[in-house]
Amino acid sequence: MIFLAAGLCSFLTIYRPVLRAVYDGLEAYLGFLGDLVALWQAAAPFILADYANSMLAAGTALGLALLVGLPAGVLAGARPNSAGGTLVRLLSSLGIMTPTFMLALAIMVFFVLYVLPLTGVRFILLSSQESTLDPRRLLPVALTLAARPLAYVTSQTAAATREALAADYIRTAHAKGLAGWQVLAGHMLPNIGAAVAGTLPPALLFTLGSLPIIEFVFNWPGVGQELLYRIVASPQASVAGAAMVGFLLTSLGMTYMLAVVLAAALQRVLDPRSTAITH
C-alpha cells in the first residue's frame, strides 16, 4: 500500500504537478492570512469612517423606530379594532412589503421637492461634500432605514400587548378597580419590556439588510454602499478587494452579534423570570 501510494504520488508529481499546486495554494492562502494584518492596517481608516457613518444612520433609524413603534404598537395591541389600530397595522404591513428602494426614492423626491428648498439647499442628499452629521442629509436616510424596523417593532409590540392584556394579572388589576392608565403603566408595560427588547436584534438586522440599497440611493458614504462598490469593482479577485469585502461584512456581522448579546442582557434585566427558568 505504501509503495502504491508513493508510486501514485510520484506519478502525480511528475506527470501533473498536483502536489506542487496544492503546496502553492496552501502557501498563497497562508501568505494571504499573513497579509491580512497589513491589509487591515491600510484599510482600517476607511472602514472605520464608513462604519461610523453607517452606524450613525442605523442608530438614528432604530431610535426613530423605537420612538414611534412602541406607542404605535401599544395602541394597535390595546385597541385592535379601532381606526387607529387598523391604520397602524396597515402601515406596519406596508413598511415590510414596500421595496426599500421605492421608499427611498419617494422620500428623496419628497425632501428634494418640498423640504430641502425650505432650508436653502435642494440637492444636498446626493452630495458627497456635505457632512453626514448635517440633519438635512441624515434625516431622509434615517427615515428610509427606519421603515422596516419600525414596522417590525410595531407589530411585535402589538402582539406582546395583546398577549399581556389577555393575562390574568391584567384582569385582576382591572377587577381591583385600577384606572386604565394605571393598569397600562404599572402592569402591562413592565411585562412587555422583555418582548420589546427581543425585537431589537431582528430590527437591527432589517436595518443592516437595507443599508446597501439605501446608502446607494442616497449616496451615503457607509459600509453598505462601499460593499456594493467593492463587490462590483473587484471581479478580478484581487487580495485587497476580497479582504475589504470580508472586513466590511465582518463589521456588519459583529454589530449584529453585539446587538444579540446586548438584547439578551437587557431581557434578563427586564424579565428576571427568564434567568430563573434557565438556571
Binding site: 428602494f101 421605492m102 423626491v109
Partner: protein, 307 residues
C-alpha cells in the same frame, strides 16, 4: 353545488384582505397567462424617434399619454406592454426560486425533526446562522461574483440559497408540535407505519399552516428581485456587472422584458423621467401587495376553519 359556491363567495367578501389580494392579482395572472389580450402594443415595437408633446418636439422616453398609457422607455417602446409581457418571466423566476427555498428549508426542517441528535443540532445552528444573513447582500454577492450574464442558474442559486432558514425553522417546529400531539402518539401506538402517519396525520395538519407562508415566500423573492434589479442585477443581462450598471445613466437593452431589468439604471431618472423607475416598481409593489393580502386572507380563512 350553487349553495357551496355562494357560501365560498360570502366567505370571500367577509375577508377583505383575501378579496383585495385576489383583485390585485387577477390582472397579474392575466398578464402571465394571456399577455396579448391586455398589452396595447408589441413590447418590442419602437415608436417614432421624435414626437410632439404640448406643442414641442421631444425625444423618447415619452411621458404617459393616450399612445403610451404608462409612458415609454428610452427606445420609445411602450412601458405598459413591456410590463405585461415581462410578468411571465419575472413571476416564473420568483416562483421557481421560492420553490427552491421551500424545498431546501423543508428537507432540512424535516431532517432536523426526524433525525435527532447531532443532525438536529447542526441543522438548527446552520438555520440560525443563515437566518441572520441579509438576503439582499447574499444574493448580490453571489450573483455579482459569478456574473448575472450567466443566466437563470446563477439567479436560482442566488435567490434560492438564501431565505431557506425560515422554512427550516417553520417545518421543524411544525413537525415537532404535531409529533407531540396525542393523536400522533395514538397512531404510533396502534402500529401505523411511518408513511401512513406522514400521509394521514402529519401533512394534513402541517399544510394549512404552511400555505399562506408559501404565498408570502413568493412575495419575498419578488421583493429581492426588485431590489437586485434596481442595483443592476437582472435576468437577461448580457455582460458581467460593471460599476456603470450600478451607478445608472445607462438603460440595459433587454432581449426579454423583465421587471427587474426595467428598474436597472433608473436611480437618477426619478427627477427627469419619473415613470421609468415608478412603473416597474409599481408592478412589483402591486404584485407583492396582492400576494401579502392573499396570504393574510388565507391565514384568516384557515384560522376560521380551525376554530
Amino acid at each position: 353545488m350553487r349553495a357551496g359556491i355562494a357560501m365560498q363567495l360570502r366567505r370571500l367578501v367577509r375577508t377583505p384582505s383575501l378579496l383585495l389580494g385576489i383583485l390585485l392579482l387577477v390582472p397579474v395572472a392575466m398578464a402571465v397567462g394571456v399577455p396579448g389580450w391586455i398589452a396595447p402594443h408589441d413590447p418590442e415595437l419602437r415608436g417614432p424617434a421624435l414626437q410632439q408633446i404640448d406643442g414641442r418636439w421631444a425625444a423618447p422616453p415619452y411621458p404617459p399619454s393616450r399612445e403610451y398609457p404608462l409612458g415609454s422607455d428610452l427606445r420609445a417602446r411602450d412601458l405598459l406592454s413591456r410590463i405585461v409581457y415581462g410578468a411571465r418571466v419575472t413571476l416564473l423566476l420568483a416562483l421557481v426560486a421560492a420553490a427552491i427555498r421551500i424545498l431546501i428549508g423543508a428537507i432540512l426542517g424535516w431532517a432536523a425533526a426526524t433525525f435527532r441528535g447531532a443532525v438536529e443540532r447542526w441543522i438548527v445552528i446552520a438555520a440560525d446562522i443563515s437566518a441572520t444573513l441579509p438576503s439582499l447582500l447574499f444574493a448580490f454577492l453571489l450573483i455579482a461574483t459569478i456574473g448575472p450574464h450567466r443566466g437563470l442558474p446563477v439567479f436560482l442559486i442566488g435567490l434560492g440559497f438564501t431565505g431557506w432558514a425560515a422554512w427550516t425553522q417553520l417545518i421543524y417546529s411544525g413537525i415537532r408540535r404535531i409529533q407531540a400531539e396525542p393523536y400522533m402518539e395514538a397512531a404510533e401506538a396502534i402500529g401505523t407505519t411511518r408513511r401512513s402517519r406522514l400521509r394521514y396525520y402529519l401533512l394534513p395538519n402541517l399544510l394549512p399552516a404552511v400555505l399562506p407562508v408559501i404565498v408570502q415566500e413568493i412575495a419575498a423573492v419578488l421583493l429581492l428581485l426588485a431590489e437586485l434589479g434596481f442595483l443592476g442585477i437582472y435576468l437577461g443581462s448580457s455582460s458581467p456587472l460593471r460599476l456603470s450598471d450600478l451607478l445608472g445613466g445607462e438603460q440595459p437593452q433587454l432581449p426579454i422584458p423583465e421587471w427587474g431589468g426595467m428598474l436597472a439604471g433608473t436611480r437618477l431618472e426619478i427627477f427627469r423621467w419619473s415613470w421609468l423607475p415608478i412603473v416597474p416598481a409599481g408592478a412589483f409593489f402591486m404584485t407583492i401587495l396582492g400576494l401579502y393580502l392573499l396570504a393574510d386572507g388565507l391565514r384568516q380563512q384557515l384560522d376560521k376553519a380551525k376554530s
